[in-house]
């Protein structure tokens, strides 16, 4: 039981990090990034190939690029960087003055094609079989702490990073930068006419969101030791989005609740506690059917989510003490 709980704790932290990152792009900036999962995948793959060591030898059963064995915190940084770079590249192509639904379709195309290419090209990240035997950080501790203890240690570490992510998201949350981003989301021409340059802001939010997503991918692969195209199908982005919209777009705690309900309570716990039905794989397929239905129900009955975006009141932004503030502009 404790083993499952620690596993789920790691998954939850990883999912939360990803959900907050996607919420920046989708909620604040209004960008329908259906290729979000690519940035998480980029982080996971890059973490794997810089932790696995050179291709060949012990890992001769799989082929991959680079192949280094960097000491622990470094692969995570590489993962974050990779996520950021992929997001930036994606953003440079797609963040154009395009109708929002067209843009969404283009993102989806990228997600599907990237999955096809990575699955087919064995030399890149070992194709559709994916990478396995990725070393866990400080795995020697497994002998001293036992597997259970090690799992809880990793969960704690992930939670700390997740809290770091939260403080970043909260810090950016009330800033002028975020407000300008939301303004450009609501009315691009109006924001530009006030001196805001939406193109730059959007690339920035793509980069930051991509870094967080890459980081989450790195944390995940460091824990489960394996990564393959099956782990990042386009529908994964959809699952994260379902959590965001169910909980409440642009509300950090709403995203928290929604992610817990969709990714953990629904996806993980049902898989754990419900008896296996039918042939192997049937329940997985059915889970996706239910996520689709859930999505429709949420946007029909509660489009603003369980915890709607909180109104920023003037009184919280305005200093009550100094009515004669100088006009320093």
């Amino acid at each position: 039981m404790s083993f499952y709980l620690s596993t789920i704790a790691v998954y939850f932290c990883v999912d939360l990090l990803a959900a907050w990152a996607l919420n920046m792009q989708f909620g604040w900036a209004g960008i329908p990034n259906f290729a979000f999962i690519l940035t998480q995948a980029a982080g996971a793959y890059m973490y794997a190939v810089v932790a696995l060591g050179p291709s060949g030898g012990l890992t001769a059963f799989q082929h991959y690029i680079l192949g280094a064995s960097l000491p622990f915190p470094l692969p995570l940084l590489v993962a974050a960087g990779a996520g950021g770079v992929v997001a930036l590249a994606l953003g440079l192509i797609t963040l154009r003055p395009l109708r929002r639904d067209y843009q969404a379709a283009v993102f989806l195309l990228f997600a599907v094609i990237a999955s096809d290419v990575v699955s087919a090209d064995v030399g890149l990240f070992n194709g559709s079989n994916g990478l396995a035997a990725v070393p866990q950080p400080f795995s020697s501790l497994q002998t001293t702490l036992g597997l259970g203890g090690y799992q809880w240690l990793y969960a704690g570490f992930t939670a700390v990073i997740c809290l770091g992510g939260l403080s970043l998201v909260r810090g950016l949350g009330g800033s002028g930068w975020q407000r300008a981003l939301r303004a450009a989301r609501d009315d691009e021409a109006g924001a530009r006419a006030l001196g805001v340059n939406p193109a730059v802001l959007r690339l920035q939010v793509f980069f930051i969101g991509g870094m967080l997503a890459g980081l989450s991918g790195g944390l995940l692969v460091g824990f489960i030791s394996a990564w393959s195209p099956g782990a990042w199908e386009y529908s994964e982005t959809f699952a994260i989005l379902t959590g965001i919209i169910l909980g409440g777009v642009s509300n950090n705690w709403g995203v928290f609740v929604g992610t817990f309900l969709v990714q953990i309570a629904f996806q993980e716990l049902t898989a754990l506690f419900l008896p296996q039905i039918g042939y192997p794989g049937l329940s997985d397929a059915l889970v996706w059917v239910v996520i689709g239905v859930l999505w429709l129900l949420v946007i029909y009955f509660r489009p603003r989510g369980i915890l709607p975006e909180r109104r920023t009141r003037m009184s919280t932004l305005q200093p009550s003490t100094s009515p004669e503030m100088s006009d320093a502009d």
């Binding site: 329908p32 192509i93 109708r99 059917v289």
Partner: protein, 297 residues
């Protein structure tokens, strides 16, 4: 660069283009009239292909096998529009919100099919017939039939759009639905007709796709949809001719890239063209912004 291989791959490319074009014409027609980017289109293609597969297993002959796909596609398409999409359009008819609904519908169809098909990939063999030499290109009878079918669909669509009163009404609808309604265009009937035609083309495209890939699984439609959407967006919403031209470009590009070593990247080549156009395109026309946000399903 080996010119025989190049010419051969261009020949393949034209066949691939025909396959893409049939789907892209259905997609673009429906996009133009309803203004809805329908991401469940690929799943309707899969439904059509599965319908043909089942009929083929019953050994009813070639004609019922071929007819099953467009029939099921048309029914599924109009059902989707009249039930799910109509319900959501009554509440919120922003183009983006409804796109999300079609994505969810597609997800539901895909995984329901997957569950029903026991996650299997089915073989679906078509006799490809004798090879035919046409100038520098080599075709099979089957691929010529596909090209012929695409040409026929294009001709029929163009004739219907430009020569009949119905087509005029449809074109009016795609430019300005409010004005068209005010001028007495029978909206409901027109739109249902659009869903039926585009659904039939989706089903047919699914079948045609299978004759090329020889296998069918629940997830197949989405991969193919990628090229269909790329062609439809590249060609301009609502333009069958544009869709066919874009399909030609994408089809030839994918096959040429596949022939010259990058078979992994053949689909990516199609997307690369779209990406390139996005980066370089002029900032005018339907590309540039939210010209018409409301959707009429």
């Amino acid at each position: 660069m080996n010119s025989t291989i190049l010419l051969q791959s261009i020949g393949f490319g034209i066949t691939t283009a025909a396959v893409i074009a049939i789907g892209a014409m259905g997609f673009t027609l429906q996009l133009g009239v309803t203004n809805l980017l329908n991401l469940s289109f690929g799943n309707i293609m899969t439904l059509g292909a599965f319908a043909s597969l089942i009929v083929e297993r019953w050994h009813l002959g070639l004609v019922p096998t071929i007819l099953a796909a467009p029939l099921v596609g048309a029914v599924a398409s109009v059902l989707l529009a009249r039930t799910l999409l109509a319900v959501f359009a009554r509440r919120q008819n922003g183009a983006f919100e409804l796109l999300m609904v079609t994505l969810a519908a597609g997800l539901i169809i895909e995984y329901t099919l997957d569950a029903l098909a026991h996650l299997q990939v089915f073989q679906f063999q078509f006799p490809s017939g004798a090879t035919v030499h046409l100038g520098p290109f080599v075709f099979t009878v089957l691929s010529l039939a596909l090209i012929g079918a695409a040409a026929l669909v294009l001709a029929a669509l163009l004739a219907a759009l430009h020569l009949t009163r119905l087509g005029k009404a449809l074109r009016a609808l795609s430019v300005d639905p409010k004005l068209a309604r005010a001028c007495g265009v029978p909206m409901r009937r027109m739109i249902n007709l659009t869903w039926i035609v585009s659904g039939a083309l989706a089903g047919l495209a699914g079948l045609v796709y299978v004759t090329n890939s020889l296998t069918i699984s629940a997830g197949a439609g989405l991969n193919f949809l990628v090229l269909v959407i790329a062609a439809a967006i590249l060609g301009g919403a609502g333009s069958p001719v544009g869709a066919v031209l874009a399909a030609l470009v994408i089809g030839v590009a994918t096959e040429v890239v596949a022939a010259f070593g990058g078979s992994y990247y053949s689909q990516a080549a199609g997307l690369a063209i779209l990406a390139l156009v996005l980066v370089l395109r002029p900032s005018t026309g339907m590309w540039s912004g939210p010209t018409r946000d409301e959707v009429t399903v």
